[in-house]
Symmetry: C2
Subunit: 342 residues, 2 copies
């Protein structure tokens, strides 16, 4: 009888950060694809677009005029999903299964650069460093607000990821509750820390550095790798070597290294399918609800949808929505391909 | 001071089936959309397509020839994500955070009709009834296998939902573990049943039938409604009025009524944006691992991606992937729009 081989046989992998499983079907990558093709991102954009609401000096939907900003620029989202003035309240009758709670918050947009034609991978490390500075500043400022329990910094890059404007930008949604994903990560990391006295991601990183098979790129302070439990075909996680909880604790050198790893990783991504590589990326860090979270270990997720080429993506649909996430190529082979592009 | 109003203010709603929350931002539906547009499904297809691997008498990728089937047809997926012969095994060293387990299973494809040009909404109720019969038969047959703990029946409809072939068909993935979503629903439903002696969905349905605001369409045995905690813009759940655990227990009359509600709901969907409405749909029912699940109440989810028109969908991206699902229009207004098309 054959023996179980994770490079060949269907299996489930456990994600200890979320406490959830992913189904891996290595052999399935041979499947032909006759379905939807995405349009690859158009490559030529002007440095300044008079119709872009994020370019310097342009007027936005609400009538405000952007300043002639030289590096980064942050403002409150004109179509914010969360609002600071939402009145408190809840819906919860005894015995009823209808439960709702008002949610307050602030949604901001962060322009990474005045240049309409750039993405993070085109920017100098020193310019990306200014983005890291702004993330830190915003995390501290928003997190200090009494009613904000969690600050989610993220970027949707590419129209296939729902970004409606190619101007390099990210977002921050800060809110009064801790949302589901960071809540699960809080639980898992705190439990691990209480049991082991070290952070889950420190121990995980040590294992990966030893095994090497899933590493993509690293520098003095950060490592980017394809997690053992990756869901998206070329998903990566960026982990600081030092265990710290949030951007309020990052050192100057680490900020430089953060900018450096962002540059390296996004450049590798762009090379993979020879396109401006789409993804959603986000920083997970400890809640700002006033509690201590010694187990939290800041990290950043990159969830890119592309699977086979610049135009064929992985669909997270029927089985994935109803049952469990599923992937075709193994995390190990994805890491190997990305590493080969360095 | 304003009072909290769920038709106007941002809030979170609780999903008691999963034990999770969704962020609702009613005011955000005014947001303009300049992002990606999907291509609407082409409307004209031949009744028979010589190049379709699902049409009767055609030869599939593996060389097998489809019979000249008159109604439904089921076969093992040629590119199955799960395989019956996977050897048992696991990866789990002491102290290691790398955990994997081999997973056995069977993936099948179900053709709903020999006609290449139809969808469920075009079919007669008597023809859909044959699909329901096949679902039942397959659930019983696969569920009876000793190593199968869960049977997921689903349909990906439309290229935007990753369907690579427009021939009307669905899938079944049966496997040796209970995947995450049904596992969460098992926990929630069993806990509710133990506490209340009634199924969670019986009590929920009673509330919805009284409130009426989220109902879409009903018949003698089934109700389709937009759940209070819906994630997708026009998401619905189809709930049988009678509390039963799985398709092995459905009566003949209920099977007719199931076919009827499928016809009605899919027709309403097609009318909404005047297109062959894309969605992923799936039946959740009790695991087949040999245990008793008195709390389980069979139901079917419809997750359609479209938001504003046949070409503008809701993107579940950055915030949604990193934090919590988020929606713009309220479930109540979605239900009202769907009801208005009856
Ligand atoms: O099996 P299909 O139709 O080829 O593939 C489709 O459905 C599967 C099950 O939801 C997904 O894993 C695939 O990403 C999707 O493209
Ligand atoms: O805020 P944007 O860029 O207009 O919108 C995009 O990102 C949001 C946050 O992930 C999502 O809710 C939207 O569906 C997506 O289109």
């Amino acid at each position: 009888m054959e023996t179980f081989d994770i490079t060949e046989h269907s299996h489930r992998r456990f994600n200890p950060l979320l406490g959830e499983w992913v189904l891996v079907s290595p052999h399935r990558s041979k499947r032909p694809w006759q379905g939807q093709q995405e349009s690859a991102e158009k490559e030529t954009r002007p440095q300044y677009d008079p119709n872009c609401y994020l370019c310097p000096t342009n007027v936005r939907a609400n009538g405000e005029k952007n300043p002639d900003y030289p590096s980064t620029y942050v403002f409150v989202n004109d179509f914010a999903a969360l609002q600071a003035e939402s009145p408190a309240g809840s819906l919860q009758e005894t015995g009823s299964l209808l439960r709702a709670q008002s949610e307050r918050g602030i949604c901001k947009v962060i322009c990474f650069s005045p240049r309409h034609d750039l993405t993070l991978s085109d920017m100098e490390v020193s310019e990306i460093r200014k983005v890291v500075d702004l993330w830190q500043e915003q995390y501290l400022e928003l997190g200090a607000l009494e009613y904000i329990s969690y600050v989610q910094i993220f970027e949707n890059k590419g129209s296939v990821m729902g970004s409606s404007n190619p101007h390099p930008h990210g977002q921050i949604w800060a809110q009064s509750s801790v949302p589901g994903e960071p809540a699960k990560e809080t639980e898992q990391q705190q439990a691990y820390f209480q049991q082991n006295g070290r952070s889950l991601l420190s121990d995980y990183l040590a294992e990966e550095l030893e095994k090497q098979t899933r590493l993509v790129v690293e520098n003095e302070h950060f490592v980017a790798l394809v997690p053992f439990w990756a869901i998206w075909p070329f998903e990566t996680i960026v982990i600081p070597r030092r265990h710290f909880q949030h951007l309020g604790q990052i050192t100057d050198q680490e900020k430089d290294a953060y900018a450096d790893i962002m540059k390296k990783l996004s450049s590798v991504y762009d090379k993979l399918f020879n396109t401006s590589f789409p993804y959603s990326a986000g920083i997970h860090q400890s809640p700002t609800d006033g509690q201590e979270y010694p187990g939290w270990h800041l990290h950043m997720h990159f969830y890119p949808p592309l699977l086979r080429s610049a135009t064929v993506k992985k669909f997270m649909v029927g089985y994935e929505l109803m049952a469990d996430p599923q992937r075709d190529i193994t995390p190990e082979s994805a890491a190997e391909r990305l590493r080969g592009l360095l």
